[in-house]
Point group: C2
Chain length 671, copies 2
């Protein structure tokens, strides 16, 4: 690489880009950890993008109509931190740069949206950012259709590396973007030919240009160090009606001794080599030192969007008060006041009509009353619409010629769906939910974790939540998946017993601003157990007494979802034997754990034997059975301790011993 | 579709294919559940494949040199059951066909390798089969290189649907197969343009032909109902040195009223429509009735490989006794006798030298003694070779020009790696292991579950297993992943404390024939805690007393992995305070749970306070703390209850309170 030529050919550009490279080298060296090569390789692309194209105002990083910039190759976090510092972002001070990757710093190892306002999404696990970006771009299309171009009109830019493109999820994202002609999505591929293990060719020889074209993308190939070529490519990409991929041939760790090597991918901490690289750059400044003129130029770039933002504000102010309020409410992730009343009305109705239906159908009934009053919901399913019951009458289908459609046919892409939903939620203004079979939590899992970590209130509608799925067999029957989601921090897992609890669960899920929810719903029909209408959302306490013991309280049955009615049947039999039995419905363990001890003690007092009933593994139950005043000698569990089997549901519940008879026998054993 | 023309043009073929369609219609109708359309659409392809190409002997489904046939579109399970019944497979009787999807039947909803010998792999979760197939094909290449073409020379055929190709994992598989020029892998794409939600175009418009070509595949497009075209395409595919994809344009539910519709994808149970379809086929026979002549023709196909198998056996018998024994041992998944002695020697050496190293390095040391004596091991990493420490000196790298290489650079493809490893294990003769960061259990998760369900002893080498990962931050720090793997049935999760336990864990993992193992290994260095050499594999009991209390036993500290040395340090402090403290190392909860109660009671007696220490979530620990004679008032846990953070490891352990001081404080609180 002829660094000298780069320096002289576009010296103003070079200096700005070099500021990114120098800060990256210094921060990684100080931290003795991090990834130097990627920011050094992509500094030119980022500089041109931010200087000439990206619509943003560094003073107001959350301006709703900003262009979104997503660093899918999140390990190159110093790229974004350098940019934000140079641009004058108030949160990214020089001290933050110096503290890169240290405890308490906002400049974490990978970019985290909950630490920095200007970071759109938490990246690092590869392929997530580019898939989030699909959701960002869809959210923009939907909102633009709804509010008009004068209020919503921005691009989504994403930088992806070879790792992002090798992860399977990228294919799901590429396919979705191509199918929906997301023309305002522009992806830069950092084509540096290097991964951690060596040259890309060690593990992949895919022609990425052909691959993207096969899915309907506009593709360009450029020298990623040529600012004019970068600028021209972005201009061409903006003009295309297809999503654009710009393959940027770059040199990882440009100008460093480790350039173009796997070593260059990691932390470059050799101080002599660092000095040599800076010398090659023509950068005589000390560590963390940015000359005032270069900083000023960057800060000017950081300010250039202020006028656009003010003009946007003026346009926004012309919207009707109602539309402004709706826009602002959705961006604030607040529910409409009417939500509580429509949920209450539904609860009252079903407490009276007592339908015997599957909770996936209960969920649909709930959505039928929610979707009309929350225009910000966007639903979908990973090719199981009829099974997940996620489509309601009023939504319309999102498509190239119907951007107002609020339902998305995600295809057989649970992972891409989950990541794109996270992107929609992070974009703002949209409340995404999407369905699949609960067993395929496995496929969506990396994005479900990121929803929790990055504090997006995505709702995962997981139907067919046990062996009750029946004949499809063990590949499709979740047994460990409730435990998996419950083990995940900042995740609410709801397993409602009937339509009332399902409606309550939806109400809570939509009231979350920073926590995803998992709804665990049945395939099979369940009786209504909440036959007495209560205004109060009982699910909000996580667990409550559904049926009190008659006579002396000798047993407490704790159950969730489809097993609540099993517990109720067992209670009838136990009461008939003269054994006073309380049934506790526990639709959300996380919310119950948050209640104060007095409440928990009232629900789960010491003394009676306890039996937990759930068609899943025991993991996660011991706290409620052995702890919380429980005792090993007086506690039992009726559930699964193996994978399921293929048979009609009733036969399976019998076969695996999840029946009222088994509960009664367990109680009698323990008494 | 002109069914009449199909009937007359190739009537002998048509009758055989129609037998598949008729059995499918009858079995699904009897079960009132299942997927009729796929077998009906792909019956012609399957008939030509089995009649003219597939090398197999229905009497001996486990013949090692058979061609492998994988139904990636596993919902079409009646295709494989029909074929096996028609061919005369002894396990698939007509009663089994009649019992499709019923409790106890071998004809489960989706094909399960543990129920039927002729089913190569359990499919249903889409995209897994085609990714398993990559592993099957790699295993064949490696073994062919090792034993020669006269003993190993077979193809891997796979049928994939639109769902398989939309799942991201398929891109990982396609990329791997193309990169490694797996010329003996031949995939049929059931190009029927239908998914559950409707036409494929609802969610995808990818040009699959271009997509496969972009990754270096040989691609053909044919009419999937034309037997001559099918035959010619398979012949051409066999000649290509590239992996082959044959795009078969088919009609889902061919000949039925639901042909070419989403309804046709599911269970076709309308008896009038069923009768009409059979009439259109020219199939006047009753339910489950196969005319003797057609059955005889199919059985002849089932027998045609017998001579090939006998010839193969004769060639195999010419191998040296040693090579025969090695071949048979590896296929039986048995370890060499020397394994125990090399592990013991390593244990003795490290008990004496007491290295302070990361357990990922301990794992490498163990592999350095195992790989030379187990030529059937095949290692790899998802682009983290230097971090996972999975490559040992003697392995060689698998490549187009080095098929003997036993190390695979999987690229950034955790999911594809895991599924391909399962495929290798299922192929037989190979013991696969592969590494990634433990946090990326999430990406590999669907295939890890299938390893457990389908009883493949794959070894997942999961390094950087806690906040000890340090600066990369919470996106890369597992906190719930031990719980996730422990919640999964038929999975052994090992979290060794030092090199001795790591070696013991590997020994146990390799002795499994039907259970996958997860090795949870540290990034950071740990002291040797097993400083007294024991011949016995103590890890095999799951937990054991590492250090006994001196004086009156007041506390038991239970710890795993990197926290065992924390517990040991806490014990020193507690003993100094006069508090007799036992330390129990618990490297494998599943194995401890399998011990008889007497042993468990000796390790965890009633009485002392108990504190669990593990840098993960508490889920899964309550059994050992509150149960097994424990009591809530006397039990505590030191671990994580949130996501981690970005900082050096030492700072994080301090920040999250996972320290000897915290353990001591907890014990004092409880006493």
């Amino acid at each position: 690489m002829d660094i000298a030529a780069l320096q002289t050919r576009n010296s103003a550009h070079w200096k700005k880009a070099t500021a990114i490279r120098a800060l990256t080298l210094d921060a990684v060296a100080a931290a003795k950890s991090g990834h130097s090569g990627m920011p050094m390789g992509m500094a030119d692309v980022a500089t041109v993008l931010f200087e000439k194209h990206l619509k943003f105002d560094a003073s107001t990083p959350k301006w709703p109509d900003r262009d979104r910039f997503i660093l899918s190759a999140g390990h190159g976090s110093m790229l974004i931190y350098s940019l934000l510092h140079l641009l004058g972002d108030a949160q990214v001070t020089l001290d933050e740069i110096r503290n890169f990757r240290q405890l308490g710093a906002k400049t974490a190892g990978h970019p985290e949206n909950f630490l920095l306002d200007a970071v759109e999404t938490t990246t690092g696990p590869l392929g997530q950012g580019i898939s989030n970006a699909v959701g960002f771009a869809m959210a923009e299309e939907i909102q633009r259709a709804h509010y008009g171009r004068k209020v919503v009109d921005h691009h989504t830019y994403v930088i992806a590396g070879d790792g992002c493109l090798m992860e399977g999820i990228s294919q799901e994202a590429i396919g979705l973007a191509g199918r929906h002609q997301l023309g305002k999505l522009i992806a830069f591929w950092d084509n540096n030919n290097i991964t951690i293990d060596g040259e890309v060719g060690l593990s992949d020889r895919t022609d990425q240009v052909k691959r993207f074209k096969a899915s309907g993308w506009h593709v360009q190939e450029i020298d990623g160090h040529d600012p004019d070529a970068i600028d021209a490519a972005i201009n061409a990409a903006k003009k295309s009606k297809k999503p654009s991929m710009i393959a940027c041939k770059t040199h990882i760790a440009l100008g460093h001794a480790a350039q173009d090597t796997a070593k260059g991918h990691g932390a470059l901490t050799d101080m002599d080599q660092l000095a040599a690289a800076k010398k090659a750059y023509g950068w005589p400044h000390g560590p963390f030192e940015i000359p005032a003129d270069i900083k000023a130029e960057w800060e000017e770039i950081g300010r250039k969007g202020a006028a656009q933002r003010q003009a946007w504000q003026a346009r926004f102010d012309t919207l009707s008060a109602q539309r402004q309020a709706q826009f602002n409410r959705a961006y604030a992730c607040e529910v409409p006041k009417k939500l509580a009343s429509v949920v209450r009305a539904l609860k009252r109705q079903v407490s009276e009509s007592k339908p015997k239906i599957a909770t996936r159908k209960s969920s649909e009934m709930t959505l039928e009353v929610i979707n009309p009053i929350m225009p910000e919901t966007v639903g979908g399913s990973a090719d199981l619409t009829g099974s997940n019951n996620t489509l309601t009458g009023d939504m319309g289908v999102f498509d190239v010629d119907n951007r107002k459609g609020r339902y998305i046919y995600w295809g057989i892409r649970e992972h891409g769906m989950a990541a794109a939903m996270n992107g929609m939620g992070l974009h703002g203004g949209i409340r995404p939910y999407g369905g699949t079979f609960m067993c395929f939590t496995d496929y969506a899992r990396p994005a479900m974790r990121l929803a929790a970590l990055s504090k997006v209130p995505t709702v995962f509608v997981m139907t067919h939540d046990s062996i009750g799925l029946g004949e499809d067999g063990p590949t499709h029957q979740p047994v460990e998946h409730l435990a998996i989601s419950r083990a995940t921090p900042n995740t609410l897992v709801f397993r409602p017993a009937d339509t009332v609890e399902t409606a309550e669960s939806w109400e809570i899920a939509l009231n979350q601003k920073a926590t995803p929810s998992v709804l665990s719903l049945t395939r099979q029909s369940l009786p209504t157990v909440r036959v007495e209408h209560k205004m109060k959302n009982l699910t909000a306490q996580g667990a409550y007494v559904l049926a009190e013991a008659e006579g002396k309280r000798q047993a407490i049955l704790i159950a969730t979802g489809s097993e609540v009615s099993v517990a109720m049947a067992a209670r009838d039999m136990l009461q008939a034997e003269g054994i006073g039995t309380r049934v506790v419905s526990m639709p959300c363990m996380e919310l119950f754990a948050q209640q104060e001890e007095g409440y928990r003690r009232r629900i789960l007092p010491a003394g009676p034997v306890r039996v937990g009933v759930e068609a899943g593994v025991q993991m996660g139950w011991d706290r409620w059975l052995l702890g919380e005043r429980g005792r090993e000698a007086k506690a039992g569990f009726i559930g699964m301790n193996s994978f399921g089997a293929s048979a009609p549901a009733e036969a399976l519940f019998e076969h695996f011993g999840i029946t009222a008879d088994a509960v009664v026998a367990k109680v009698n054993d323990l008494l």
